[in-house]
């Protein structure tokens, strides 16, 4: 007997290797012959701070009263050698982002928000604008390989200097600001013709290696009469050695940026495949400072995917002194806001996914030099939103710290944490929840 009914068929099966995202990228590459460039940081799922939990106080330790007992949040950065270290009210700082990649209004908004919150903001590749200096009470001046717009007057006007070795989105990589964002003002600040792609070098032009870096830091200190804190920023790749070498070279502060940290424009393959997650970078960096007897003497600022007060508290509990936010600050200003959904769709994307920051067509008026688009961002209102967000992050971190019985955010410690996954337990070097097991450190 033959069964003439339709035989059962295997359900159509999508590949876990060749996912729709992978296949769309293959088709795009085949059609264009060029890699994908985008802004922001790693988008793939990574072990992150959501994989950690605080234990809170109970019988073995007691908490602080939520609305009564003080929990300090202030932080001093640059106390090692600088005669004028930076005093901040909150350990949440604003990461370096350039005028050029961001509009002047966006830079002003960052300065306004940071100043209301009592924290610092940071210049980027392309130099310091008067608006940014004017609206930022505490401004960190980045000293980058390209030295675009670099001049000693701005160096002396800054409150701190950040020698940028690398960033988390692209450790070992330089940058490229595409010609469509190079207006006359941006070009003038960078000593190049308008409309020309501007490459940012991946290495500094006048020093190589840690011995030279020590001499470079000495020069910067001499030029600024040993007043300004000197930060050294590295992308997270070999955090133990990079932190140790930065400290050995004479840094006051080490800034450590994990792979979720954003960029204005970098190859997607670089963002997603080079560097290590922020979570994995912190403990080796802290260990390096402890081994040198410099923990809390050389301050550690961690950035890359920090979104909430919980993230702040976790970073500090792992031993950092402060954090820096970039992408989150842009979102607070208005980046990727659903109110611009129709325009995001016209650009072939959607609110929440827009990352073609290098193209300069940002509907929110943030990652653009188009004067009409830039006008959409009111720097006062956007600055207020950023200040609110910074206040919430600080309050959230305090809430958690009090629950752990800490009278200052810096009193949080790894012992307050457990991990939800084995990966996070290994990277953060805290026990898997419900066990005493720290992979690689202790037995079950």
């Amino acid at each position: 007997m033959t069964d003439h009914r339709q035989p059962p068929r295997t359900k159509p099966r999508l590949s876990a290797t060749f996912t729709p995202d992978v296949m769309s990228e293959i088709r795009r590459a085949a059609a264009t012959g060029i890699y994908d460039i985008r802004g922001a940081g790693a988008k793939r799922a990574l072990p992150h701070f959501d994989d950690l939990l605080f234990l809170g106080a109970s019988i073995s330790r007691y908490p602080l009263e939520g609305y009564r007992e003080r929990c300090g949040t202030e932080v001093v950065l640059g106390s090692r050698f600088a005669s004028k270290p930076i005093h901040l009210k909150t350990p949440v700082t604003i990461a370096g982002m350039s005028f050029g990649s961001l509009s002047a209004n966006a830079k002003e908004a960052l300065g306004r928000g940071a100043t209301i919150a009592g924290t610092s903001t940071t210049t980027g590749d392309g130099g310091m604008t008067p608006e940014e200096r004017g609206h930022s009470k505490t401004l960190v001046y980045q000293y980058l390989p390209s030295r675009y717009g670099m001049n000693p007057d701005d160096l002396r006007k800054a409150d701190a200097i950040e020698v940028v070795i690398g960033q988390g989105a692209k450790p070992g990589g330089g940058g490229m600001l595409l010609g469509q964002k190079i207006t006359e003002r941006v070009a003038g600040m960078r000593c190049l013709p308008p409309g020309v792609d501007q490459r940012s070098a991946c290495r500094h032009p006048d020093w190589t290696g840690p011995d030279d870096l020590a001499i470079k830091i000495e020069e910067l200190r001499e030029i600024t009469d040993w007043e300004k804190p000197i930060y050294v920023k590295v992308g997270a790749s070999r955090p133990y050695y990079d932190t140790a070498l930065a400290a050995k070279s004479g840094a006051d502060v080490v800034v450590l940026d994990g792979m979720q940290g954003g960029t204005a424009a970098t190859q997607d393959v670089f963002i997603e495949h080079v560097g290590i997650p922020t979570l994995a970078a912190i403990r080796p960096a802290v260990q390096a400072l402890q081994d040198l007897g410099l923990h809390r003497k050389v301050q550690l600022v961690v950035s890359g995917g920090i979104r909430s007060g919980a993230d702040v508290a976790k970073v500090l509990a792992l031993g950092a002194d402060a954090v820096a936010i970039g992408t989150a600050a842009l979102i607070a200003l208005g980046d990727n806001d659903p109110r611009w959904q129709a325009e995001y769709e016209a650009l072939g994307t959607t609110a929440g996914a827009y990352d073609d920051w290098h193209e300069g067509r940002d509907p929110a008026g943030i990652t653009t030099q188009d004067p009409e688009l830039a006008k959409r961002l009111d720097p006062e209102l956007a600055g207020r939103r950023l200040a609110n967000y910074l206040a919430v992050m600080t309050l959230e971190a305090q809430t958690i710290a009090r629950a752990c019985g800490k009278s200052h955010l810096h009193n949080l410690e790894p012992e307050d944490l457990v991990a939800l996954t084995i990966e996070a337990a290994a990277m953060a070097q805290v026990p898997l929840a419900g066990t005493g097991w720290i992979p690689g450190k202790t037995g079950m």
Binding site: R147, M150, P152, L155, R199, P205, E222
Partner: protein, 229 residues
Amino acid sequence: MPSFDLRSAPLRELNRALHALRPDTNETHWTVTGPDGRHAIAAGLDAPISVEIEGNVGYYCAGMNKLATVLVNGNAGVGVAENMISGLVHVRGDASQSAGATAHGGMLIIDGNAGARCGISMKGVDIVVKGSIGHMSAFMAQAGTLTVLGDAGEALGDSLYEAKLYVRGSVKSLGADCVEKPMRDEHLRELADKLAAAGLAGEVSPSEFRRYGSARTLYHFHVDNAGAY
């Protein structure tokens, strides 16, 4: 005429004293002895003074100079006059790597030879080297002039932007996107001005030089040029 002996007082005191000078100071000529290769000597000056250093200096001598004239009667280490804004830095001996790196303005004169990466990423400075320069000089040079009376090493002007390069001797090789360009009258005049400013008027003729500049094919990233990078 203040003088300062770095063998008997720390560098910090010298630089602090130089930084404290106001534009109308009458202490306009300083002499520094015993440099012994110390780094960052006379870095960050911001007044129309002259500083004469008797001996060899280390890294970043006259770094970020503004307005001042710094004369080195010896050799200079890495990054002499790096990121200079204005003024004059004159090295009577040889200079090491990255001389005049990223400098925005002013003039750097090197009587001897300069090492690798001379004028790297320069942004408007005029550099005159009376001897020869090393490899990768004028890498990503953006603006200004680099004049070399001797020879240039490998990969001159790699990834060059708008800086102009004048070389009298041989060029071992040109870097990506750097090409020889015709010497027109305006270039001969410009070069004559730079040579005169370096005290070489009448000693060498601009017509002995060849001009190199950017072919400008890498100004906008295009996949067809990927092999050039």
